[in-house]
Structure formats: structure tokens, C-alpha cells
Symmetry: C2
Subunit: 261 residues, 2 copies
């Protein structure tokens, strides 16, 4: 199944199921229960919203070898020895098609990070690695936009990664996914810049969820961004960034530099 | 005014106004609007809940000189040169009177951090320092419980500070506060262990909110934990930790080590 969160003028965001380019609105939502309505909407007639506003917004950070070597090492980081989890903030979330607004005082080093996003479907603690994926509702796509100068100078990621609009997520949640078959591709203005096998992580999803839930409870609607591979060029005003993950979809957002519109 | 969030058996958490030891339930909440009901409940007849489950849970971290010197330096940190903001996670929140459960594999170095908590009342961006406090609904109390060994060994604070139950917050939100008059006192089993002037921060609340909102939007219900001063003894099974801030109240939680009950 493919869950979409959408809105129509004057109405609060709601969930529906995708059937091709049609949306079937549901009563309820994928986390607390739902009923089909039999109604139908065209995808072109709605605004796609962020697929979920998470209660807690987790991010794995350094989780692919090439990314650690090419970005992490420049920032003084070494290869993680255990799956430590970081956080991002919901203020920064934007939906499919919304603009990434780069503040006027940001440096040129604004880059994308295309990521697989795990959406938690049920409350979970003390998951064993072998059945850790049982708490997962499905998968979506994230772009962990980062200002590298601030990432290096600041004590935390509050500004480098959590400036408003720096966390595009979407377009929808796909529940049927063959993790090992997934490929991530990032294009800028249609040109392929980064490609990697999505599931070739230092620490896989099950390992992360199992480790995390030794200490913390996951809740329905929590999201876990799994990190990225490779490097990004610096993004400039007007760039269209597309993060595609095969079997899920494509997350598209344009870059706008404040003061240049 | 003093806002309390409470529940009664079989009912969802609700907001009320405190009048001495009586609660006046309201229709609505302090963030989206409310109406008085004229009804009354005894404080002893309700369960006090976490005063708000924040959309984003900010924490200033190192914001008092003595704490940086005595805890930060041991962890390789130096005095911050600008107000960078960190994050905590809502999974870890517990309310007044609930137990801090220390996992069986935690070391002995589990410590309190008594903190002033700023509760945001309205959406805000680009606040000037001189009127930054205009977005504040009121203040409550937090205990930023920390496992110092994990804090040092892990790449993030996911486990050292965000293990379930490590973030007591409450008991209520006080809207009328003279910041310069506040004093924080932390007692363990009735014995005073830490005392400091609450508002003697490296970077004050207005400076933080102004700096943060250059880049991010604050939302109603967001909380900002302002950091702590001094050091804590290691907490052991059975300890009662009380964080008092004059003019606000006292946050009380007992320490329970897993496997010792």
C-alpha cells in the first residue's frame, strides 16, 4: 500500500491510499486505524503534505562508508563503532514541491543528503533484531539539507540541519518494499549526481531499531532517517533537487536563496 | 496564572487553572484558546500529567559557567561562544511523581540537572531580543537526567539523556514569573545538594529565542530547557530528587534502578 497525506483548500490534512494517480480518502489514519471510503480524488487536485509530522524525529547521521570518508572526516568525525541516533526538528519539515529556502547569511556550502526514511507504525520497546522491522509501517524519502560551514562551526546541528525548510520529506509512505533491491539516486536539474544502493548501510535498519529500543520507546508516527552515501555539489538558487528511491518514488524540491527572489 | 495538565481515570489529559490546591478545568487549552468552566477539582483527585508534549523539545545544554567547568570540561567541552541549541526527545518525558527508571546496564554515574523550562505560547520567527519573551506562555521545571559514561562514549545524547523516563518535567506552567528573582534548588532525599540563581545564564532566554528564530520557527507548545548549574551526586536506587524553582514549584521524582524492584 501507498499512504499519502494531502489537503484540499479549506480542509485539514487527511490520509488516503494511492491507486496509480488516484487517491482514495480514508476515514482515520494508518497509525490509529482507518476505514475505506470508496471515494476518489485525482492526485493533481490536492496539495501533497508531509507524510507524517513525527512525535520524535530520529536521524542516523553517519551510516554509509563513503559519506563518512568524504564529509565526516572533513568535520573531524571517524567511522561510528555503534549505532548512535541523532535528532532533527519538525519545524524544518517541508512537503513535496515546497521550496528549500536558504537564509541570506548561509555560505555557499549548502548540500543535499538523500535518505531512506523509516516510518514507525506501532509502539515498540525491546525489539529483537530478527523481528525489529515488525514495528515499521513503511518507507518514505528525506533530504537532509545541510549547511556545512555551520555544521562545522556550531556546537550542535540546530542551524546547519534544522533551519526552516531544510528537511523535505515525502512524497508518500510505501508499505511494500524490498530493502535489498532499493537504489537511491539524486539528480540536480535532471543530472544524476549521486547513486548508491540504499540498504548498504554501516548499521542496518533492524540493528538500529533493536539498539534504540533497548533504551527508548518508539511511537506510531516517529520517523528514522537512515543517513546518506556519497557527496553533494553545493546547491545554488533555482536548483531542482530530486531524490528518487526505486520502488518508493521521487521527492522534488527547488532551492531558493533568500533575497534572490 | 498557573496552568496544569491532568487526567482523571478513563479520561484524556486536559488543562485547568490552579487556584491554590484547586483546579478549575477549562474548555480548550492555553495554546489554541480556552473558556472557563466554573467547575472545580481537588489537586489530590487527579493525576498530574506532563504540562505539554512539545512539538520540538529544545535544550540549551552548557549555559552556566560552573556546570561547563565541572561537567563540560570532563567531557572535553569548552565555554560556548554562541547560543547553539540542542534537542531532547519526547519519549523520555515523565510527569510529576513518576519514577526515573535507570536501565540495569547504566553505570553509577546517573545524575540530575535541574533546569528552568520555557514554554512557547505562540508561533514566532525573527524575534528581536528586546521583545523575544513575548512568545513565551510561561515557565515550568525540568530534570535533564544524564548517564555521564554514555554521554562521554556515545556520538550523540540518544541514550545518555533520552532513555525513557530520563526527562521529568512539571509540575505545571507558571505564567507570572520575575526571572531575576528565581532561585533553583535541588534536593536529594530532602538534603540540599545544588543551589543557583536561575537567571544567571551564559546566554539569557531572550538572547536564545532571538538567535534561534533567525533560522527556525517556534510553535505553540515547544519547550526550551535552559541548562543547569553546578554538579550532581550520583543518584542511587530509591533516591527522591526534588527540583524547586522559587515562584514556580517543585518537581519530584524517585529513582528506581531496573532489576532492583
Amino acid at each position: 500500500m501507498r499512504w499519502i497525506r494531502y489537503s484540499t483548500p479549506g480542509n485539514a490534512p487527511a490520509y488516503g491510499l494511492m491507486h496509480g494517480d488516484l487517491i482514495e480518502p480514508v476515514d482515520g489514519d494508518p497509525f490509529d486505524g482507518w476505514k475505506p471510503t470508496g471515494r476518489s480524488l485525482a492526485l493533481t487536485d490536492v496539495k501533497i503534505e508531509v507524510p507524517v509530522v513525527p512525535r520524535t524525529f530520529y536521524a542516523a547521521g553517519l551510516n554509509y562508508t563513503a559519506h563518512v570518508k568524504e564529509v565526516g572526516v572533513a568535520l573531524g568525525m571517524s567511522l561510528p563503532t555503534q549505532p548512535d541516533m541523532g535528532y532533527r526538528a519538525t519545524n524544518a519539515l517541508i512537503a513535496q514541491g515546497e521550496d528549500i529556502i536558504v537564509p541570506a547569511d548561509a555560505t555557499e556550502a549548502v548540500q543535499y543528503e538523500g535518505e531512506l526514511v523509516v516510518v514507525i507504525g506501532r509502539k515498540a520497546k525491546h525489539l529483537r533484531e530478527e523481528d525489529a522491522l515488525s514495528c515499521v509501517l513503511g518507507y518514505t524519502i528525506g533530504n537532509d539539507v545541510s549547511e556545512r560551514t555551520w555544521q562545522k562551526s556550531d556546537r550542535t546541528f540546530w542551524r546547519s540541519k534544522n533551519t526552516d525548510t531544510f528537511k523535505p520529506m515525502g512524497p508518500w509512505i510505501e508499505t511494500e518494499v524490498d530493502l535489498d533491491a532499493l537504489r537511491t539516486e539524486v539528480r540536480v536539474n535532471g543530472e544524476v549526481k549521486t547513486q548508491f544502493r540504499t540498504n548498504e548501510m554501516l548499521f542496518g535498519i533492524a540493528r538500529y531499531l533493536s539498539t534504540m529500543t533497548r533504551y527508548l520507546t518508539l511511537y506510531p508516527g516517529d520517523v528514522v532517517w537512515m543517513g546518506t552515501d556519497g557527496v553533494s555539489p553545493n546547491l545554488v538558487h533555482g536548483d531542482l533537487v530530486e531524490v528518487s528511491i526505486s520502488g518508493i518514488g521521487t521527492l522534488r524540491n527547488r532551492v531558493v536563496r533568500e533575497g534572490q527572489v
